[in-house]
Symmetry: C2
Subunit: 130 residues, 2 copies
């Protein structure tokens, strides 16, 4: 996948540096806008952990999210091709949310987020580093 074979010979960090410089489109801001919606990363993380889930199932796992916000988030995520919504025609009818390929590729990001927070923000432990 990722068939944009046009780019070559420029190192990734170089490109990123240039792209975020100013005036240009910035992948960081773009991504942050996409998944920086407060609940999005958690939802994705849950989906990553548990695989396909139903709506209420998801709501239970996220803790604190309202159905409205979950619905909106899912909507947004779906619109951006990150999650897949499938209606399972059984009885009772269920809806299954799962990550698309693109969504799964966010694992690195979400994990990076989680690990950093885990290492630098732990609440119960002593103060933050100096």
């Amino acid at each position: 996948m990722g068939g944009q074979g046009a780019l070559r010979h420029v190192s990734k960090s170089e490109r990123l540096s240039v792209e975020c410089a100013g005036g240009d489109w910035c992948p960081i801001t773009a991504t942050a806008t996409l998944i920086g919606k407060k609940w999005h990363p958690v939802i994705i993380h849950r989906l990553l952990e548990n695989g396909a889930s139903g709506f209420n199932e998801l709501q239970n796992e996220v803790d604190g999210i309202s159905s409205k916000v979950l619905s909106e988030s899912l909507d947004d995520l779906e619109a951006n091709g990150l999650v897949d919504r499938t209606v399972v025609e059984e009885k009772p009818v269920r809806v299954s949310y799962s990550l698309t390929d693109s969504g799964e590729s966010l694992e690195r990001v979400v994990l990076a987020l989680a690990e950093w927070g885990d290492e630098h923000l732990e609440p119960a432990c002593d103060g933050v580093s100096v």
Copy 2:
């Protein structure tokens, strides 16, 4: 303050999974709250790229940010021990913002963000434009 006691050998992903489950403190949300402020990741990225920078210097590099928001962001970042503010007593007096150790450790996160956006959101693929 070592009082954490027994630190079991639980895999990292296992811990993260548990921590984000529900009711508990969640490192993902916590981190997202910290650096998900729309401009924070970009600021950090710029600092990562260019090293210590002055206020206006930073404002120029970020493109589009107002002094107010930059000020607030920097404030927030500093309060969370991510950036360091140093007044350089020269002439003319300057202020230098740089990343703390903790801030630099965000490189993985920011890079993950940037790379993902670069690979999945490229504007040319979408037909967005000025």
